[in-house]
Symmetry: D2
Amino acid sequence: MEETTTGVIRLEAMEKDGALKIPVVAVNDADTKHLFDNQYGTGQSTVDGIIRATDVLLAGKTFVICGYGMCGRGLANRARGMGAHVVVTEVEPVSALQAVMDGFKVMSMDEAAVIGDIFCTVTGNTTVLTTQHFEKMKNGALVANSGHFNVEIDIEGLEELASKVNRNVRNYVDEYLFSDGRSIYLLGEGRLINLVAAEGHPADVMDMSFALQSLMAEYSVQNDLTPEVHSVPREIDKLVASLKLQTMGIEIDTLTDEQETYLNSWEEGT
Amino acid sequence: MEETTTGVIRLEAMEKDGALKIPVVAVNDADTKHLFDNQYGTGQSTVDGIIRATDVLLAGKTFVICGYGMCGRGLANRARGMGAHVVVTEVEPVSALQAVMDGFKVMSMDEAAVIGDIFCTVTGNTTVLTTQHFEKMKNGALVANSGHFNVEIDIEGLEELASKVNRNVRNYVDEYLFSDGRSIYLLGEGRLINLVAAEGHPADVMDMSFALQSLMAEYSVQNDLTPEVHSVPREIDKLVASLKLQTMGIEIDTLTDEQETYLNSWEEGT
Amino acid sequence: MEETTTGVIRLEAMEKDGALKIPVVAVNDADTKHLFDNQYGTGQSTVDGIIRATDVLLAGKTFVICGYGMCGRGLANRARGMGAHVVVTEVEPVSALQAVMDGFKVMSMDEAAVIGDIFCTVTGNTTVLTTQHFEKMKNGALVANSGHFNVEIDIEGLEELASKVNRNVRNYVDEYLFSDGRSIYLLGEGRLINLVAAEGHPADVMDMSFALQSLMAEYSVQNDLTPEVHSVPREIDKLVASLKLQTMGIEIDTLTDEQETYLNSWEEGT
Amino acid sequence: MEETTTGVIRLEAMEKDGALKIPVVAVNDADTKHLFDNQYGTGQSTVDGIIRATDVLLAGKTFVICGYGMCGRGLANRARGMGAHVVVTEVEPVSALQAVMDGFKVMSMDEAAVIGDIFCTVTGNTTVLTTQHFEKMKNGALVANSGHFNVEIDIEGLEELASKVNRNVRNYVDEYLFSDGRSIYLLGEGRLINLVAAEGHPADVMDMSFALQSLMAEYSVQNDLTPEVHSVPREIDKLVASLKLQTMGIEIDTLTDEQETYLNSWEEGT
């Protein structure tokens, strides 16, 4: 059961290289996982982690989000919801354009580096914030990661650039001083800030991910899976969503026979 | 080149039945089409159509949206953006749960019928608003469709239920009077309200859809397509997004070689 | 009964100069007028007017609002609600700071002129958009006014600057061509765009303003008013709000005796 | 220098009763105080306190806010920004109507008690949540206060109603069990949750309040103040806003002479 975007990318690369020896279920790719956990879970908990680490007021701040995948979308919405001016950077043009249309400023990291008060990487990639960006940042800029591992920010580069480092000026906050008088604050040593400074995803969204894992474990035993990366069947995805709605006391409609027929036919309604 | 969700559903049903005799490109399913045109285009123009038809103040009104596909999402966000209290009805549990988490109330159509001031169907299905709902609606309820055709609202049922109909009490507004003294206002005879009362999708989102059609027409000629429903290649999707960003004067980042390698490898970063 | 911000400013200046010969009620200054009509009424109808005049897609556009009074706030929220990137310009530092904290970019008009796609003045003042700004605007910029009269935009200056004017390229849209190849589009001849191209404020917010006028007319007859600018008594303001809530079917709480006493006392709870 | 809404109410009552013996400045009532500190400070820090205490996911939850003053507005916007479905209760009809038009559901506390997942009082009054409401609440309801003192929730009544209390089931969370099997969770013993479980208002909004206090202390010494409740002069209010904008690197416009004249005259522009 693979629970993360990064993990699924790795496992698919392994499968492609013939290195995958056991069956794996890409639980992360189920709708009831990545559309919820990654979006609403990472969104809230990243804001939570940054506030706990710094107690910064988000209203009126320029908040730069690197990456507009599900995590980035969640974070962008929550940061805007707290009154921040959100800037998005992207490498994928379709995602970039969605960010624009969703009301966020989009620009290159070089441009964003100059104006940001708070930076957070959520790309799943490496070396997204580099020395070329640190050199342009404002005095007092806060830099965090909520994507994966501690490789999205070039910490080594930051250390080399700084003339002095004050560790733990606040819990989970290291101050990097530059010879030009500026300070940049690195949060949680560049590790996932929602895990470092907050409590990770809230239980009431993890329940869905765990339900998927549990149901897929059962499914794996009942069906003899080949050593590949498998998807979660749509029926199990829908079951998890239905159960969650039920626990929230929410009732939805069902298709009538007439509507089922209408949807499946091309002779009616055309 | 098929441009609509409804059309693609029909054409896929035809292909399944062996009734499709010519190659078709599901332009609608390209990201740069349905994520933009259906969402931002339908969202704005539906609000526009309802306001032009009725001049209703949306702030403080309960706005019921039937369907939370791309059109429904766009409309929900725009209606909320105008100050409305948005209620969503759905038949698909994953979409319903997304609506909840996006901050919208979700309930059955039976429950929504009682509290709504404005109703708009965007389902692509038939007979979504029925006599069972009209009977529960508040006096003065506005009823519109922005999904497809004029079948989402059971107009025949509405006519039978009403004791009198006043046509065109305002342009594009018919008043249905009931013997219990209530009135329900049907907008645009249940046809697509953004086409009837407004101008359809703005040109600055249709440009993307037309770019796709044009590029795929060229592609179809260059590649000998079989009589099936074909997808838009990812590269063309990305090209349209890149061109659109360019016209907006927006620059984005590109992956470095190191990042490309990192993404494609499973030996690094694990 | 004076219904507008501009009118009250004028009447107070008359009173100060001893030029006011009759009693006047500043209906505009009642909470149930300027907090609602000016905010939600102007907000929606200005967006409506701009869309009817141009059919522009607001999502992703940079929308510059000159003035962050009640009209400006309403417009800023509605423009953001349609997906626009809102920029606010102001002369009053407290209002400017509120705009920042509410999540809007704030800058000088000189800076905003360069990046805006759409401009709308709502200041109640004169000569807010001038030739110095037109010279910096992007090709295709839309310029409108929803503040008062037709003096907020320096139309004379615009005419002198332009090498050619194409009247009515669309209803309510005049194109001003410059010798450098750029075009600026002036909407509604710089008159109130919500009145010119849309229907003004919706009836369901004007009802409150008219209720105030009517109740204050009665009050004026019953009380022998001096020739000054009079305020609306708080009780009448609250009555209008209560009546409006009632028509919307909304019930609210009332203070208990214990709560009344607690609020009015300084010996308890300190 | 009085910094709180509650304090000013008390001091004005004292002045009215002739009990005020020293000059007092109502710093709270300055725009740069209550429009910012109370709104953006309380808004963010209350959400912060509730999340730290409970780690609840706000997205999709019904969040009931008692009171729509500046604190309530701030909290309502932040809770919505985190994806919650916000319900507002009020006793003042104008504020209630504003909440409706701002897109929030408004209802009586009796109605809200039934549907809320999270409750937070911000009224400055006493006994807002009572046994009559606890009896209707859902199993698992979270109850907090961010208004003043610990009197907004009837804790004594809650204790009498409960059949058992589990203290500190999580830091700052007490579980009240009822004989019918429901639990209600009281946060921070009903004291200000942003002070109990979070860090109070962020420094970058308190700076404005402290600047006001400091400038008014100087002003008090320079001007021989009478033993009354004094307001902050408008010029000092504007100075604080200007200084804050400056620290954020934001430049705004100034009125031209022509504009000053226009605003002050009633002979022009009428």
